[in-house]
Each structure stands twice: as structure tokens, then as C-alpha cells.
Symmetry: D2
Subunit: 138 residues, 4 copies
């Protein structure tokens, strides 16, 4: 059983397009925010802090597969349900559902990697998922 974190989003007028519905890239903005929120809600330190001590500096997206089922419009509040399905070395697989109550709006599978900053070169490189982060999130 893996943990699920739910983040609310209030859909605003400016998030919607001339068809009156959410412009789909905005769903991806919210998926990204919900992914970060997942770690924070599970008690993981902000990347800004962990980066300072040579730890994780972020979790860039490698791949995102998104299926759009129903639309949403401004004035509605929607919920983003995030869970990590699988951990595989330096990579992990998120499942994210965007719902409006019981209605499924968007289903997403996201592949991300943990990266830290090489102290010598300052460049980002993929690293194994730290054990303490896994323990908090599984």
C-alpha cells in the first residue's frame, strides 16, 4: 500500500481557454505542483534545503503520459491525487489522478528521476532514491 496525497486546486477564469474550459497545459502545471506537495506533505525536506548538504536537488520529469477524460471550468475546485507506484533505482513512477469529487478528469503517469548537484562541477546528475525519502513516501 502506498501513500496518497490530495491537493486541491481552485480553477480560475485565467486558467481557461476560449472554449471556456481549462487549457490542458495548466493541468500539467498542477500535476507538477502536486508532485512537489506529495513529498512535503510526507515530511520530506524542501529540495532547496536538501540540496545545500549534497542531497536531492529536485525531481525532473523524464516522461509524462496524460489522458484527458472530462473538462473542468472556472469556479470549480478539483483534487489532484498523487501516489508513487514504483521505485526503480534513480527513477520513480507517479500515478496522478485529477478528480472533481467522484468524477475522473485526467489520469497521468509520470516518470521522474532524483537528481543532486555534483559538488565539483555544479552539474545535476541522477542519484538513487534516498532511503529516508522512500521510507516517508511508501
Amino acid at each position: 500500500m502506498s501513500k496518497t496525497v490530495v491537493m486541491d486546486v481552485a480553477v480560475r477564469f485565467g486558467d481557461c481557454d476560449p472554449a471556456g474550459i481549462v487549457f490542458f497545459p495548466n493541468f500539467l502545471r498542477w500535476l507538477d505542483a502536486a508532485s512537489l506537495d506529495f513529498f512535503l506533505q510526507n515530511g520530506v525536506q524542501p529540495w532547496r534545503e536538501s540540496e545545500k548538504t549534497g542531497g536531492v536537488a529536485g525531481t525532473p520529469v523524464l516522461e509524462i503520459n496524460t489522458r484527458f477524460v472530462k473538462s473542468a471550468t472556472y469556479g470549480e475546485t478539483i483534487q489532484i491525487h498523487t501516489t508513487i507506484d514504483e521505485w526503480r533505482g534513480k527513477v520513480f513512477f507517479e500515478k496522478q489522478l485529477i478528480k472533481r469529487g467522484d468524477d475522473l478528469l485526467v489520469e497521468a503517469k509520470v516518470t521522474r528521476a532524483f537528481v543532486s548537484r555534483d559538488p565539483a562541477t555544479g552539474r545535476l546528475k541522477a542519484v538513487e532514491a534516498p532511503a529516508d525519502i522512500r521510507a516517508r513516501c511508501e
Copy 2:
């Protein structure tokens, strides 16, 4: 052999995130713009026009699968290459590559449907790809 249309995008400071690279949902904004541009460059009427006479009112995204290979930053110009891989009834499959010269940055497969507006109810419904649009785009 299917047609390919290339659209340039100048990456701006405000498209980039605190890591200094394009915030990934912005790539999807550009994929959407390039999809619309594909039809216009092939001589298809704007949906706003065709909608008035009962024709196509738009091509909403059903599914989008995106793989992020390399990042981009502001000051760079990138190219979005769009082609339609397959037509299947009311649905069509786009292949979109975002490149910086020869470098592949993002690879996307997008499923979209043609919709028109039901004159009785005003609601959108999926319709077969019009033959003249297929002829212009294949």
C-alpha cells in the same frame, strides 16, 4: 509520406523556472500552438470560420504522451516539427518533435479528435475527419 510543418519558438526568460530551464508545461503550450499551426499552414480554414457553417470547431486533446530528452533555456530558438501519423475515424494521432537544430529535446505523441457543434443543442460532439482536411494534411 505525410506532411511536416515546422514552427519556431523563441524561449523567453519567463518561460523558465528556478532551475533556469523551460518549465515543462510550457512545452505543452507550444505543442498545442504547433498543432493548430499545422492545419493553418496546410491551408485549412481557422476553426472559428469552419464552426460557423457546421464544420470542425476544434481538435481537443484526448491523450498526450511526452518524453523529455534535453532541456532548453531562454535566448534559444527551438523548432516544433508536427506531422499526423495516423487518421482513425474521428480521431487522429500527431507526432511532434521539439528540436534545437539537430538536438532532440522533446518527443510527443498526441491523440486528438475532431469536434463540431451540434446545431440543436450547441454541444460539441466528435465527428469524422472531413475529407478535404485529410487531403490537405496527408
Copy 3:
């Protein structure tokens, strides 16, 4: 004494630019959302509803003057304080402060007009502030 409504905004990673701070146009997105929220929190009907019966269809911005005092970054929650300073015929003047607790981040003066849709032509035209809306918001 005029009413003030406060709306919270959680600043996200993707709202920030390569300098690590909120990209300033995003402050204006939130000012717009807070302006709409002001009316709803004061019990005014959504414009989508009032528009159907020939009432207000929206409050487009005519002018916005914004002074940026301090920056904000992701992980912070900020508050947008909205009040209407003056009503003048078809136009009204909002004062909006963006604060982080006691810290002032942004000060904005916004001029907006009430518009409704002409039933004959379907075009938007400026209208006097409806008395019931003024009564709820003053």
C-alpha cells in the same frame, strides 16, 4: 468604510523565474482571480449566471498600476487584500495589496468597468454598477 476580502495564494515552483522569484505577470494573474473572488465572497452571483438574464457579464480591466516592493518565492503563502475604493458611474477603482503576513509585496490600483451583453448585437457594452452589487460590496 469599505469591505475587504483576503484571498490566499500558495506560490508554486512553476510560478517563479530563473531568479528564483515570482515572475511578475503571475502577480497580475492572482490580482485578477482575487478581484473576481471579491465579488463572490460578498455574495454576488457569478457573471456567467447574471449574464444570462441581461445583467453583468464581467468586469474588464481598463487600467492597472502596480508597484513591486518585495519579491516572493515558492513554498510561501501570500495574501491578496482587495477592496473597492471608489465607484464612478460605469467604472470602479480597486485597491489591491499583496502581502506575506505583515510584509507588503505589491501594491496595485486597478480600474475596471461593468459590462453586459447587448441582446440585439451580442456585443459587450459598459453599464452602470448595479445597485444591488454596490450594496453588497460597499
Copy 4:
């Protein structure tokens, strides 16, 4: 006589709101891009480069006053005309007009400061406009 630089913007579907017109904060995104473009077109080094040698690291906005005259919609190409009206110590004043051919859409007055990074603390601080930058832009 001061120099004017004109930058074109193609308005896209996703830049527009449910009223079918450009969501006004997007005009400010383009004003920001045009401000940066003004310096580059006049032969000023990118801030990323000048920052490395202790020079200008950016030109943050202190104040922006914007008047919205006419709307724009997707499919249109608009032009942003940027000039610097006045230089006053560490601060400069831009005048920016957004036009569609001869039609004025938006008029903006923007106050910005030059900043560089203090080598000791790494913090940004306002600095006098470098003479070579003024010479290129006046």
C-alpha cells in the same frame, strides 16, 4: 531621439480567456520579453554573460502602469514597441506600446532598475546604468 525596438508576437489560442481575448497578464509577459529584447537588439550582452564579470545581472521591474485600450485575439500578430524615455541614476523608464498595425492596444510605462550581484554576499543590489549600455540604447 531615443531608439525604438519592435518585437512581434503571434497571439495563440492558449493566450486567450473564456471571453476569447488575450488574458491581460499575458500582455505583461510579452512586455517583459520585449524589454529584454530591446537590450539584445541594441547589441547589449545577455545579462547571464555580463553577470559573470560583475556587471548587470538583470533589470527587475519596480513599477508598471498599463492602460488597456483594445483587445486582441488568437490568430493575430501584434507588435510591441519599446523605447527608454528617461535614465535617472540606477533607474530607467520604459515606454511600451502594444499595437496591431496602426491600432493601439495597450500603453505601458515601466520603471526598472539595473542590478548586479555583490561578489561578497551574492545578493542583488541596484547599480548605476553602465555608460556603454546607455550609449547603445539612447
